[in-house]
């Protein structure tokens, strides 16, 4: 972890993406749909031999478009920063820019 991350002074992504690796069928519709292009196709094969969607690790805005585009009910879960954390984030950014 960097000092910036540890002290919480780096700007975190507003969103977070989780993929259920064994429910995903690798159709790539979420990759196509994601506006900031924060999803890629994993090199790893899941249990059924599909290459599955995988979050890049950064860039998610929590818009939820991938969730709407995904044909599997539970393959994608989208999270967003809670309000308190959003405020903290803004402060951290303000501090860091000083």
């Amino acid at each position: 972890m960097t000092v910036a991350e540890e002290t919480g002074t780096v700007k975190r992504d507003r969103g977070l993406l989780r993929v259920d690796v064994n429910e995903c069928k690798g159709c790539e519709l979420c990759i196509e749909a994601c506006p900031p292009k924060a999803i890629h196709l994993s090199e790893q094969l899941n249990h059924y031999g599909y290459r599955t969607a995988a979050y890049n690790g950064a860039g998610c805005t929590g818009c939820g478009i991938c969730f709407m585009a995904c044909p599997e009910p539970g393959a994608i879960t989208v999270l967003r920063l809670r309000r308190a954390a959003v405020m903290q984030n803004k402060e951290a950014v303000a501090c860091a820019s000083n």
Binding site: D20, I31, E32, G57, A69, P71, P73, G74, L81
Partner: protein, 295 residues
Amino acid sequence: MSNAMESDYEVVHAKPKVFYETYERKEELQHQTHYCPGCGHGIVHKMLATAIDQLGIQNHTVLISPVGCSVFAYNYFDVGNIQAAHGRAPAVATAAKRSHPHSIVISYQGDGDLSAIGSAEILHAANRGENITVIFVNNAIYSMTGGQVAPTTLIGQKSTTTPLGRSVANEGYPLRMSELLATLDAPVYIERVGLGDNKQIAQAARAVRRAVENQVRGLGFSMIEVLSPCPTIWKMSAVDAQHWVRDVMEKTYPLGVVCDRTKDRQPRVPADPAPSLEEIPAILGIIPDDQPDVQ
């Protein structure tokens, strides 16, 4: 990212509660639908489940599943389920709704089911203005049986029963069911949506919700036609199939609200309460022993 940071996030989009936790009715792969990768059914299912969740009607919902790829919709939706014969879902829905008017009856059908074998049933259910919601998933082909021509297949589109491409001379023109049904007086809301890009998908979700809401409000017959990709039968990748919906299908099937009469419709008035059992013989003109014969 560390766990400490993850706890700052809350779930905003997850598997709708209306879906079963695990799909126990399936023989295998009980955590995954049987639909092909990139199939439009899964997307439409999610929209429908979301609408049911948001409207809080899970306990009152009755889903009629058709014959087609979505014959197994009952594996996934944790609501009352009735599986119907090919094309007959609107007739089944008619009686289910009239038997229990408080229930929210959804007829979920594909294009073979609705526009071919079931064309009479959908026409008359729409014409009677049955207070049901019809979700019409149109992928311009018969997928479950391996890719035969549908009434909705595009001109020139190849299928296993039109190997040289659909011809006007032999098969006629693609059937635009939304426009057809909109010519009837009774339907209250008909919209065609597509799954061709992000914007369309968002609009489709709104339309599905609207169609269910109309029934909750007791306004009458609503149908949403969803232009849907079928990567397997179209022999395309899921992303290419999505583009085909937007770039090719929508030239034949324009998106948009085809009829919206919700402002002019009053909610259905509930029927009068049924007479008591004691009153029934008199209603039937049946004379009790202790009364004189009636001429």
